[in-house]
Amino acid sequence: MTVSAELDRRFRDAAVTAGLLDVGFDVVESPVGPLLMAATSRGLCRISFDPDPERHLDRLAREFGPRVLRSSATVDAAHRQLDEYFAGSRRGFELDVDLGVAPPFAQRVLDELAHVPFGETTTYGTLASRVGAPRAARAVGTVMNRNPLPIVLPCHRVIGSNGSLTGYGGGLHVKEHLLRLEGVLM
């Protein structure tokens, strides 16, 4: 005896409506491959290029609470904005975010990162200076590397001081795709 897809969805929707989740997540399609997206009641808390939920459940539970459940309703708004971004009709995101227990330095860097506009790039060193730690370019790199909300917090707009793309969590081809989409790369 197995649960029908419809009953399964009914329960998941009811759980969201009742406000019983610590975190809701879903896997969505995008031009750069499937993405796992997760949100708490405070805002979007995760975007990952690794779409296998099993590799995220424990960490999400540890960071935000054990009531983690797959439910498209929790990430619908963010998903819609991402679609618009990829379709070229959106240049900025209007989303609440939940950075959880990010350390203060990472918080500051990610706050500053959010201000790098569509279609522009900056460098690790510049970002480090902007948060008042001009010698911390490498530490800024580490924060970019662990960015919990790539695309929305645009770490793809941060490049090396010599103009090289350096690295990207989703792979360099994704970084190139995003920068091409924004008209930075031809």
Binding site: R10, F11, A15, A18, L57, A61, G65, P66, V68, L69
Partner: protein
């Protein structure tokens, strides 16, 4: 019979739900019939979600969620008579159903025995269902229930 390893951590709810949903659905369908299983299924897991933050460990989660389901079956039976499925006759004393008293009495038992005793004598589940709840065989469930009862008798907590 009890595991001596460290108590398992509470899994993220998604994993718990995926592991238990078919068992809970089957149990509710047997008890309530096809017409009432869906609402009961949803309500069981909503109750489990509400209670989840208060769990202290991840042991016997199947027995735990089936206990919630069994309680719901009894609540449902109080509100409306069952259609085709039979419900257990529970003796009621002082307006409190037997399972409530039994759960209190059985609190001091080791977890497996407690679950077996409460599910058998409080909820009148068959040993097949209890075995499912405990993840063991019907024989092991029967043994756990009877050694629990023996232990309670030895403590003169039940006649």
């Amino acid at each position: 019979m009890e595991a001596v390893a460290a108590t398992p951590a509470i899994p993220p709810f998604e994993r718990f739900y995926l592991e238990q949903r078919d068992v809970v659905f089957g149990f509710l369908q047997r008890r309530l019939g096809a017409n009432r299983v869906e609402d009961a299924f949803q309500e069981t897991f909503l109750r489990a979600l509400r209670a989840y933050p208060r769990l202290e460990h991840g042991e016997h989660l199947r027995a735990w969620v089936l206990t919630i389901a069994a309680r719901l079956v009894i609540d449902t039976g109080r509100r409306a008579p069952p259609l085709a499925a039979e419900l257990p006759e529970l003796p009621v004393e002082d307006g409190r159903p037997a399972y409530a008293q039994l759960e209190h009495l059985a609190e001091a038992l080791p977890p497996t025995e407690r679950a077996a005793v409460v599910l058998r004598y409080g909820y009148d589940l068959h040993y097949d269902d209890i075995a499912t709840a405990l993840g063991s065989s019907p024989d092991a469930a029967r043994q756990a229930a009877s050694s629990g009862i023996r232990r309670l008798r030895a403590r003169k907590e039940i006649a």
